[in-house]
């Protein structure tokens, strides 16, 4: 346990510069806008007084580094400003919507693992068979298919033709977990396809490598059955790979969720960020980008810790 605590401390130390860069990128979005940010943020019919006021509130008259530190200080205290359109607190908007997105991403990750990992195992244990080729082909389709197109197809089939699932909308998990999962099923399936494809591929190649290694050959020579080899030795050794790949997928899932939430009219942060980007509502865009990058960084840390618990060599090496 000691080695793991040490690793967490060391990883946290490495994460600080990463977090600083990521927050700086979010902060500097304002400066990418063509023209004076104060004028843009003041809206179309703003008086010069209002523009001056906004310049003062946001500190646009200060040096950039001071502006950044002030912004960061506020952000750390969950003060992300207000929406330029609805005048609502950005932090509140995010708190209301983030659960919908998290539900979709977690649901898709679970679905993707349940389907993808067994597919990878099946392909690896029957290398070269028709099943292996079929799984490999399906995996390359899964990487190339546009998720939102798949989402549309699922809607037409399962919602409009067969009426098995609702076409669009979402229910809050806190209000009614079962309804929430029911509503999230179609978008989660569409989201999970990429995870299935990547996991099936990576588990297959990682498992093939382990099964071809020296010590597995020794175990086989000693007369151990292939089932025991697979479950006791093979999978144990690819567990770290699986977890790492699954962790990396979180990043991709948030990306895909931005589009899929639009397809399924899910009131999550993905839908809100694209809507806000269309309307140049920069504080909301910044707030959501910041929140998601923090979630991704923390997920990576969690994956590292879990890997260290699963395999003590990981803790020793980082």
């Amino acid at each position: 346990m000691n080695a793991i605590t040490l690793m967490v401390v060391r990883r946290l130390g490495q994460l600080i510069p990463v977090a600083l860069v990521a927050t700086f990128v979010v902060f500097s979005l304002v400066f990418l806008m063509p023209g004076d940010p104060a004028i843009i943020m003041a809206g179309e019919y703003a008086t010069p007084e209002r523009i001056a006021e906004i310049r003062k509130i946001h500190g646009f008259d200060q040096p950039m580094l001071v502006q950044y530190l002030t912004w960061l200080w506020k952000a750390v205290h969950f003060d992300l400003g207000t929406s330029l359109y609805s005048s609502e607190e950005v932090a509140q908007l995010i708190v209301d919507r983030l659960p919908h997105t998290i539900l979709l991403v977690v649901y898709a990750l679970v679905l993707g693992s349940i389907v993808g990992i067994p597919l990878g195992i099946a392909a690896a244990t029957r290398q070269g068979s028709t099943l292996d080729k079929l799984i490999t082909t399906v995996a390359s389709l899964g990487v190339a298919i546009p998720n939102f197109w798949l989402g549309i197809i699922l809607v037409t089939m399962f919602a409009l033709s067969w009426h098995v699932f609702p076409a669009t909308g979402a229910v809050s998990f806190g209000e009614n977990p079962f309804e929430a999962i029911y509503y999230a099923t179609l978008p989660a399936i569409a989201l999970s396809v990429g995870v299935v494809a990547v996991l099936a591929r990576q588990v297959r190649s990682a498992l093939l490598e382990v099964l071809g290694s020296q010590y597995i050959r020794t175990l086989r020579a000693k007369g151990l059955g292939s089932g025991a080899i697979l479950w006791k030795h093979g999978l144990r050794n690819v567990a770290v790979t699986m977890l790492t790949i699954a962790g990396l997928q979180v990043n991709r899932l948030f990306s895909s969720a931005v589009i899929l939430e639009a397809v399924f009219a899910v009131p999550g942060v993905g839908n809100l960020i694209s809507y806000s980007a269309l309307n140049k509502d920069i504080p909301v865009v910044q707030g959501i980008a910041l929140m998601l990058v923090v979630v991704v960084i923390l997920t990576n840390l969690l994956v590292d810790v879990l890997n260290a618990i699963l395999d003590p060599r990981v803790a020793a090496s980082t």
């Binding site: 549309i152 993905g270 865009v285």
Partner: protein
């Protein structure tokens, strides 16, 4: 001094030029041995031609509305039917190919232009520059790529070119990281040290020795990125952040088709399949080049 500088680089490169090339790239042999790559390349060549020749081969002007023929199923007059404004789907698909390819190459081009030089430089220089820039790379890579692209597009202003600048900005750190790692490997190779010993300038080392030998994985990555960029364009245009109406894009066509999916379900197949096939082709080509460049990699 000037004398040595003029003669020595020439002397160091001469042997490299006269070296026998046992694994010289044979284009047709490659395509014969890899059918998937051949099919993908043929498809992409046709697509590029279709995109370039769209003004000549499209049966109708892409934005021509025909309010008498709304949401028509495929017919003799309109092979792929018409959209909700009576515009010919096949024509819009061909013009959309132009935007899709332009977008993919623009985004990847921007990623390469920023990522490759940065990667080589920080790998070559090392020290605190490398430390600092590597943290910057990690920081940008922490973002979900499409979230970053949406955010940057929102700030720059919506439109295809801005959207692809944003996607290219998300690609750059990926390429920089690969290039840096490769440069670290190559810069300690014996031939680089030899060239250095002969007094080759830093610029000469980077351009003539490191870059050509470190670029191979980037070529693979770039081909695979074209698929990612294509999907990103389709997605951003679906969200109306990319290609703006009335210009046609495959993602935008899907967005319109989705509105009328109950009336004209056939409209959503052609653009979706176009995106899928093109992404598949880029991926297959990338995988094939990977095998070609590194024979130890197994297909799969």
């Amino acid at each position: 001094m000037t004398d040595t500088h003029m003669t020595i680089p020439a002397a160091t490169t001469a042997p490299a030029r006269s070296l026998p090339a046992p694994n010289r790239f044979r284009f047709w042999a490659w395509l014969r041995s890899d059918k998937r790559a051949a099919i993908s390349l043929a498809y992409l060549t046709l697509l590029v031609l279709a995109a370039l020749l769209a003004p000549y081969i499209a049966p109708y002007p892409p934005n021509e509305q025909n309010l008498l023929d709304l949401l028509m199923p495929p017919s003799q007059a309109h092979w792929l039917g018409t959209d909700d404004l009576g515009r010919d789907t096949l024509s819009r698909l061909l013009y959309g190919a132009h935007n899709a390819l332009y977008a993919a190459f623009l985004a990847v081009g921007i990623g390469v232009t920023i990522g490759v030089p940065v990667g080589v430089l920080i790998g070559f220089v090392g020290g605190w520059v490398d430390e600092l820039m590597s943290r910057v790379i990690d920081g940008i890579l922490a973002f979900p790529p499409l979230v970053l692209a949406v955010a940057v597009t929102g700030a720059l202003g919506i439109g295809l070119t801005n959207a692809m600048i944003a996607v290219g900005f998300a690609f750059a750190p990926v390429l920089a990281r690969t290039m840096r790692a490769q440069t670290l490997v190559v810069k300690n190779a014996l031939y680089v040290e030899a060239a250095q010993g002969f007094g080759a300038s830093r610029m000469h080392l980077i351009l003539r020795h490191i870059l050509p030998n470190a670029i191979q994985p980037v070529i693979v990555e770039v081909t695979l990125m074209l698929a990612v960029a294509l999907l990103a364009e389709a997605g951003l245009s679906f969200l109306s952040l990319g290609v703006q109406p009335p210009e046609s894009s495959w993602g935008g066509m899907l967005a319109r088709a989705y509105h009328y999916v109950e009336v004209a379900p056939a409209q959503m197949y052609a653009p979706g399949l176009a995106i899928l096939f093109t992404a598949l082709a880029f991926n297959a080509l990338g995988e094939s080049i990977r095998v070609l460049l590194d024979p130890t990699v197994k297909r799969g």
